[in-house]
């Protein structure tokens, strides 16, 4: 087999592969063995037809397509590694010359990974951002915990206040006529949540249990139902029950209830630690992201369209998975988002371009900086993964090996190390 790589513009090129007759014949033999199982010739059982009879009847050419399909992946792989190119897509194949006992000449038009002209990537300046945990953050965290453990108490006497839940029956009339969607029973309305038309909730405030009242409101001009927008409506409202949120006191008792800590002080310290840890992570993520973006922006790459398309495909699949985990399929999503596939892909395209650009840049840098991954590092990563998935390290290793992914894992680590390198060398500026 001989291979020749001829580079053209736009990251494409023509890979010419010449295959000797011996190899071709081997492939034809294999193709024959496959085809012979399927043909029916009178006088022969299936799969027992001699080669000669088969060829006399169907012609040896009938085997060429199958032989090519069998042979191509092998010789293509060889040719790619021989010429050292990095294809990003399936090649477009043209058979230049085929025939019995001849060299077969295959021309494949291939899109290859673009070359990356790296810009500055060391000592990148990133804007520093404050991730420090403030007293206020802790207070906020405490408050949400407080809200979460709040109890709803029924208020027997007294009137509705802001923040209460009012259980109401209501029926709305416009011009003396009931309208669709204007009625409800035992509706749980949180006062101050602004779920109802502006003005409605305010008028409920002050009502007492079992009190009935007519509430007059005007639908806003931009109301979604056109026939109601801007009209005045009267709601007959009956208040069935008042429920009031009862926030627990922030004290040691509360700390005991919501956590394993004895005192409020301990809980606060814990919250602070957690927040700080999170802030640390946020900061790291921010730095990495910022560095990558800057470095990628500095590099010059002519990204082939097909790579972007691939990335979009990838993202679409991801997106579909996420939707499915929420019990929505893509068709349904298209329906209620009013987008079609074309538009959705268009939206993802920009993101995809960025991602491709980032990964290409990082790859180029890791090459330029000779970032090496040792076996120990791979072991460590596998151990980490094993812990995460609660499996044994050997099991994880086998899974990766079975899917031929050890190299991919190595690549992941390489990229991560590259980013580490970039972050280390970067400078924070205010």
């Amino acid at each position: 087999m001989k291979a020749n790589w001829e580079k053209l513009e736009n990251n494409t090129g023509i890979l010419t592969i010449e295959v000797e007759p011996e190899q071709v014949n081997e492939a034809i033999d294999q193709a024959f063995k496959k085809a012979v199982k399927k043909v029916n010739i009178p006088g022969f059982r299936k799969g027992k037809v001699p080669r000669k009879i088969f060829e006399a009847r169907f012609g040896v050419e009938s085997l060429y397509q199958d032989a090519f399909d069998l042979m191509f992946p092998v010789v293509y792989g060889q040719a790619v590694s021989e010429t050292g190119i990095n294809p990003v897509d399936r090649p477009e194949v043209d058979l230049e010359q085929i025939g019995k006992d001849q060299n077969w000449v295959i021309k494949a038009t291939v899109t290859v990974k673009p070359e990356v002209a790296l810009g500055d990537y060391k000592g990148i300046e990133i804007e520093s951002k404050d991730f420090a945990v403030t007293e206020e953050d802790i207070e906020n965290e405490l408050k949400t915990m407080q809200e979460r453990s709040a109890e709803l108490n029924v208020v027997e006497d007294g009137s509705v206040e802001n923040g209460d839940y009012a259980i109401i029956d209501f029926e709305g009339f416009v011009d003396g006529e009931a309208f669709e969607g204007g009625a409800g029973e035992n509706y749980n309305l949180e006062i101050g949540s602004n779920t109802f038309i502006p003005g409605f909730e305010e008028q409920v405030i002050g009502m007492k249990k079992d009190e009935e009242k007519d509430i007059v409101v005007t639908f806003p001009e931009n109301y979604h139902a056109e026939n109601l927008a801007g009209k005045e409506a009267t709601f007959k409202v009956k208040l069935n029950e008042i429920k009031r949120k009862n926030l627990p006191e922030l004290d040691d008792e509360f700390a005991k209830d919501v956590s394993e800590f004895e005192t409020l002080e301990e809980l606060k310290v814990d919250i602070k630690n957690k927040l700080e840890k999170k802030a640390e992570e946020d900061k790291e993520n921010y730095q990495r992201q910022a560095v990558i973006e800057k470095v990628a922006a500095n590099a010059t790459i002519d990204i082939p369209e097909i790579m972007i398309e691939h990335e979009v495909d990838h993202m679409m699949k991801d997106f579909e998975q996420r939707l499915l985990s929420q019990g929505i399929n893509l068709d349904l999503y298209y329906q209620f988002s009013g987008l079609d596939e074309e538009q959705l892909r268009g939206q993802m395209k920009e993101d995809a371009t960025g991602r491709v650009r980032n990964s290409l840049t990082l790859e180029a840098i890791s090459k330029a900086e000779n970032v090496e991954v040792t076996d120990e590092e791979v072991d460590e990563e596998i151990n980490n993964l094993a812990e995460m998935y609660r499996r044994s390290a050997d099991e994880i290793r086998q899974i990766f090996a079975a899917q031929d992914q050890l190299e991919g894992l190595k690549n992941d680590i390489r990229i991560r190390k590259t980013i580490d390198l970039l972050v280390e060398s970067s400078k924070a500026v205010a």
Binding site: P42, P50, I53, A56
Partner: protein, 95 residues
């Protein structure tokens, strides 16, 4: 004498006969009225080979019925022709 191609009707090509070709034996359907000598001469003139021996078998047609009518497929004669060991193999193209 009869024409050679009126004597030899068609080659019989099956799994079994292809195996027999390795022994230089070829099987044909021949005209039922022909004899071994005629077959020998016909084969020699068509394929330009020397025939060592000819064996013939009269094959009875199978009885077949269509509902209440009993019919019979035609009887035919099979000839197994052995070529001399120095003759070239025959090629059949009609398959």
């Amino acid at each position: 004498m009869k024409e050679a191609r009126d004597v030899i009707l068609r080659p019989i090509i099956t799994e079994r006969t292809t195996e027999m070709m390795a022994d230089n034996k070829y099987v044909f359907e021949v005209a039922p009225k022909s004899n071994k000598t005629e077959v020998k001469q016909a084969i020699e003139s068509i394929f330009d080979v020397t025939v060592e021996s000819v064996n013939t078998i009269n094959v009875k047609g199978k009885p077949k019925r269509m509902g209440r009518y009993v019919g019979k497929r035609k009887d035919w004669k099979k000839a197994i022709v052995k070529l001399s060991s120095d003759s070239k193999p025959l090629e059949f193209f009609e398959g």
